[in-house]
Symmetry: C2
DNA sequence: GAATGTGAAGGCTTTCACAGCG
DNA sequence: CGCTGTGAAAGCCTTCACATTC
């Protein structure tokens, strides 16, 4: 999050930014900003603030964004397309190395710069050119099964959009995004005003 | 999350579920399950577990899912389409009441059961038929401006997919999902093994 | 004077452990 | 006997406040 706003400031040519300024941009508190950044080092100058350009570079390195990450997308549907369309995706070094689908109608079709491939090809493709990150954009049914295959094939990180609980071994990183659950959270907040903090977020 | 798995169990005809079982399904701990549920009441029976069907109904009520929620989607792109396509979306009582876009090429085109409308129509449409939930699926530029208009028009909850920080007044509920940031989190985890817990999630 | 870096305090969440009930 | 509900303990994260540095 800090990186996003620091990049903006850097583009605009701003030299330094205080924890106060960053906090306002990110919707946090100055103390939080300082604690967060201090976890990785002492980047600021007392009396001045943080050097924007330098800190940007530091954060990019910490996040591992200097290199290019190859990403395979499982499920040639709308979610995968949304990700691939998103400028920031490629801009930040994520490159779609392949798209896979079970639907024979979709297999072979062009999809951005790639061509949709058969689900069965995953294993073979991954031995040839390994893609450590996979985006799972398929229905809940069978998602775990696909994940098991991905893990066996050497995938080390998975971004899951399937609305179901996924289990992976300890060496694999998993993040899940569940859009329906987000909406249900809003339904709850609207139904029970006062239970939750409202406001800036 | 509990609701999702309880519904599954209910469909399969299971009568009761222990906190142990729910914890395994959801990837939590039994104590967590009990604390969470106890916040809303005493739904379980000691020695037996929780009555699946009854608890399902309770949770639906707590979440405010008995009624139908009208949702407007801002931005007739891939993300909105992915949401509208998703079965669970409608199944859980969320109904797309309108889709809006700035692009003249998209305005007037059919979009699911709706027709894409002009962004300028939002205010007029909302006075006629108010939609308390809005999904923001547009680029970061101008997102805050659109949000301000939505809020002024009476929208009370916003699900934001624009990759930028949004501010709303205290009476409006906001949730943000940032796909690029999720991937960057995976990049971090792959780059710095050991900083984060890995494994089941 | 201005703003960071950081121990200490405070607050929140999770886990423990067990009494109590079916 | 099995499993919930829940105070108490432990752990984690945020906020405070101030010495420190530029």
């Amino acid at each position: 999050m800090y990186l996003r706003y620091l990049e903006d400031l850097d583009t605009r040519g701003q030299q330094t930014a205080s924890s106060d300024e960053l906090a306002h941009l990110c919707g946090t508190t100055p103390a939080q900003v300082r604690k967060d950044l201090s976890f990785f080092g002492s980047f600021g100058k007392r009396g001045l603030g943080y050097p924007v350009h330098e800190l940007t570079a530091h954060l990019r390195e910490i996040l591992g964004l200097q290199r290019e990450w190859k990403v395979i997308i499982i499920g040639a549907g709308k979610i995968g397309a949304a990700l691939a369309n998103y400028r920031g995706f490629r801009q930040r070094g994520f490159k779609v190395a392949g798209v896979y689908d079970n639907d024979p109608l979709k297999v072979g079709q062009p999809w951005g710069e790639a061509i949709v491939r058969r689900m069965e090809d995953i294993e073979a493709d991954l031995t040839r050119e390994d893609a450590p990150i996979a985006v799972l954009a398929i229905p809940a049914e069978g998602a775990q099964q696909v994940v098991d295959r991905l893990v066996a094939a050497g995938v080390r990180a998975i971004l899951n959009f399937a609305p179901t609980q996924i289990t992976v071994p300890p060496h694999v990183n998993l993040k899940s995004v569940n859009m329906a659950m987000e909406l249900e959270g809003l339904s709850f907040a609207l139904t029970n005003p006062g239970y939750l903090d409202e406001g800036v977020a």
